[in-house]
Amino acid sequence: MDLKLKIWRQANQNTKGELKDYAIKNVSADSSFLEMMDQLNEELIEKNEEPVVFDHDCREGICGMCSLHINGEPHGPQNATTTCQLHMRSFKDGDTIFIEPWRSRAFPVIKDLSVDRGAFDRIIESGGYVSVNTSGNTLDANALPVPKANADEAFNSATCIGCGACVAACPNASAMLFVSAKVSQLSLLPQGKVEAKERVLNMVNQMDLEGFGNCSNVGACTEECPKEISLENIARMNREYLGASLASSK
């Protein structure tokens, strides 16, 4: 198929960017979206132009490195799918495709379509862990049974890949889905309960410091989440946060 592309080009963080038009021919319907981008870059290199910079790594939908706001939606039109798993059969011959970076104050553009998601790392650093040393001298793994329902629920929350689509989709550029997924995972398991109160306060505080917007329960995040992380996580975090704030002595 032949396509028209409108791609955001920006030399670096300090310059202004703009959408540029590209045409690409003979794209296989079986290629993935990123393989289409590879093809474009190959052609640009041939013409001695600078290829488009975009983040990607595993191309299996699990590392969370790929991003791209495609035709008005994070990770493109298909639900529960990362950009690397989006295939060109979702498009038609002659389509015009807008390709933009994630937009959020907390995710500054580094170059072209690549953004800095360090804010997510800093949020995890503020409390997204269980404070246990890696000595191996812990309880036997089966010493503390965990109800299957809780374990499954915690797993569902833990499948978040930290891609940032929730922020990109949210009209407020809020990071609540990401933060709540980690808070939920750990608060659902006995191992994480000990620090649950402090964790939720610290992580929410860090989230606010990073400059994300507020959650107004729009729900766009969960719709665009490639891992279908549920809004229940946000409710759970709200609950935890409320309880922790009321109980906090600070």
């Binding site: 706001h69 939606e73 809020s174 400059g211 917007g213 329960n217 229940e232 409710a235």
Partner: protein, 213 residues
């Protein structure tokens, strides 16, 4: 937002019950309504609640404006292509706009009736109560101006409807009340409220306007 929001919804229900008395346009009906208005403006407990209400409206509005401003700042560079209808409903994304319409309506509405009731020059009915019913009826039956006011009223009620369509369930989510079993109930209740309350409210001025002919 959630706490004040839910409180304001409860007010909407109480206020609606009072207003529905206006559907009885007979003299006795009007006198009953005037007596009710006097009770609502003078009974001490209700006065206290009403101060809470004013504070809630103010807080809800101010907090809303602050949130909208913060949220706009969180995305300084907008998308050139944005298709939010694929992931969310219009009302959820436009609570600020809807809220602004509602706030403007509240100011108009209070100016027309609440201000009149408290400080305006207003006649008294046969029972000696301030004749608010007549003020209301006159306002809506006042020729073209009345029709415009009724239209504004109806539009504002639509805004309230959309506001509640998102707001009701959203308040529960904010409190962390999200449960697989109860979510559908909360949602349906929210949709019911957001359709029925504004419809009933809008019906009153339309009914009064129609009653003129």
């Amino acid at each position: 937002m959630a706490i004040t929001g839910l409180f304001l919804i409860s007010f909407l229900i109480v206020h609606l019950l009072g207003n529905l008395q206006l559907l009885d346009l007979s003299i006795e009906g009007q006198e009953k309504f005037n007596a009710y208005a006097k009770f609502m403006t003078s009974f001490p407990l209700i006065k206290i609640v009403s101060y809470f209400l004013y504070a809630s409206i103010l807080f809800h509005a101010v907090d809303g404006i602050v949130l909208v401003m913060q949220n706009r700042k969180a995305r300084p560079e907008r998308y050139k292509s944005w298709k939010p209808n694929n992931n969310s409903i219009w009302a959820s994304r436009n609570m600020g706009l809807l809220g602004t319409i509602i706030l403007a309506f509240i100011i108009m509405h209070m100016g027309q009736f609440w201000y009149q009731m408290h400080w305006g020059e207003i006649g008294v009915d046969a029972q000696g109560n301030k004749d608010l019913a007549t003020v209301v009826i006159k306002t809506y039956q006042d020729g073209t101006a009345g029709m415009i006011i009724v239209a504004l009223y109806v539009i504002s009620m639509a805004a309230i409807g959309f506001h509640l369509w998102h707001g009701f369930a959203s308040a529960f989510q904010t409190f962390g009340l999200n449960h697989k079993r109860y979510n559908p109930i909360i949602e349906k209740l929210g949709y019911g409220i957001s359709v029925l309350i504004p419809l009933a409210y809008a019906f009153i001025p339309v009914f009064i306007l129609m009653a003129k002919n």
